[in-house]
Amino acid sequence: MKYTAFAATMQAVWFSHDEGLSWNRLLTPTGGIYNEARCWAVATHPQRPGELLAGTDQGLYRWTQASGRFEHLPSPMDSLQILQVEQDPHDPNFIVCGTRPGEIFISADNGGSWTRSRLNAGTECWFINTSRVTSIHFDPRDRDTIWITIEIDGVFRSTDRGETWERLVEGLRDCDTHDVVFIDRDGERRLLCSTEAGVHRSEDNGRTWSHVPTPAAPWPYVRSLKKRADGEVIFASVGDKPSGETSMLLASRDDGMTWTQLPVPEPINSTIWSIATHPSDPSLIFVATIFGQIFRSQDGGDTWEKMQRELGEIRMIAWAPDANGSIQT
């Protein structure tokens, strides 16, 4: 399977066409995006192979393999920082973007038009001045439900496709929330949420949360949570602090009840900020630290190797199979 890996960095989007060994950006004159645009989010969709959405400080962009370049999608987010981009798993035309300031913008027509959601996230935050959206998730069980995490304002859920939102923070030790995974098994649901104060679990669809001890981790700062594509393992990245100076990757094989450390080669230079999986191959996983290191596993997370090339500040990493045809960059 030929695939492309993508890294959202503070110097635009980087592409790897050789399984993470080498990375390049598109050239500014032909790439369709200023190659030092700050990029926080990249999103792919299984129904749109060869296509990538990128959230930046210059607006939302779409890259296509066929054109080999980015196209700017005009939106009310042009003056904002687009930190998260997600497409409905069932309908790639339905796009949800999260920004700083913490707002949600939704398009139902593949980016042609946008509405600003009535999200009452914290307007101001003492520690980081302005709240920001840290993750967006479409509920795997209910097509009308969308979940978001906001730094520093907790977990929000919409049950009407993003029109209105409910804040769900009871029991969270800290409202600096980063990510959510859904465990739906045998008719039962469990949610896990990563926060600055560790992993939290909910058994009542987010209404209440309880802290999950993770003795394998010496620090409480949990950044990214990701289920392996086959659902058998949940990964969690833990850092000594935000940005941080070191990190570890944990795995749980019992739906988040216990965690073990994975053998990611050291030294790890900062918090592992992003974990990339794809439904087409559960064995292939990329993780990236915020300060540019990239690690790859080709056996579902049992073993890891560090990619030689390091990038600048990486905010998100992703990979997706190529569409049929050659790559243009």
């Binding site: 009310p76 003056s79 904002l80 300031p101 600003r116 307007t123 003492w126 302005t130």
Partner: protein
Amino acid sequence: MTTFLYKPHVMNARKEVTTPDIIIDQLIIVDESAIERLPIQRVNSHESLQSAFDPIKLTPVYLLTAVGGGVLFGSGVLVCGVGQARVTADCAVSRQAWRLRHLADHFDKLRLAVQLEQSTGRPQRVEQHSASLPEPKELLQRAGGHDEDLPRGLMLACPCSDLTVDASAPASCEFLVEDTRLDRRLKQELHLVPADFDSWTERPLPRYTVGPVDEVEHYI
């Protein structure tokens, strides 16, 4: 949908500065006699404006924005042609602001002044004490707020009518607000130039530059 991204440098009573980014989608001009909504695309943080009108009316305003941690108090200037409706004005918003809790405790201690310099005529200075302005709490309530709270996304512009001056561009206007209780000041400078003003004595043609024409072996 149009918004104004307000990026104030906010000073609190301890002189600490924070820099929240706040989305404003409604600007309401409110005084004792009227409430008007200014189209939000006319709101900006420019330090210089071009004017197609002569003369122009400059109306300093104090700005109130609620962000959750105490009201933000800032300054702005409404700029419109003399005789034009106020809702056709541009509103130049300063990026300096104070965070105030208990607005009423500060409001009676403010000294406001406008200094206008223009190429024709002598400099003008007009002063006003906040005691002669309507109580902000009343204006807040008229605009849909409660006490010192405003719904998110709203910015109130409260005209300091005694400080209104007419000017002909080019002109420079300095709007000064002094808090005598906390010994601090907000200073906003706004420069006004005629729309046909050209700062280039001889305007050059743009040049197209190419950069490397050979293949670059190692591109960053």
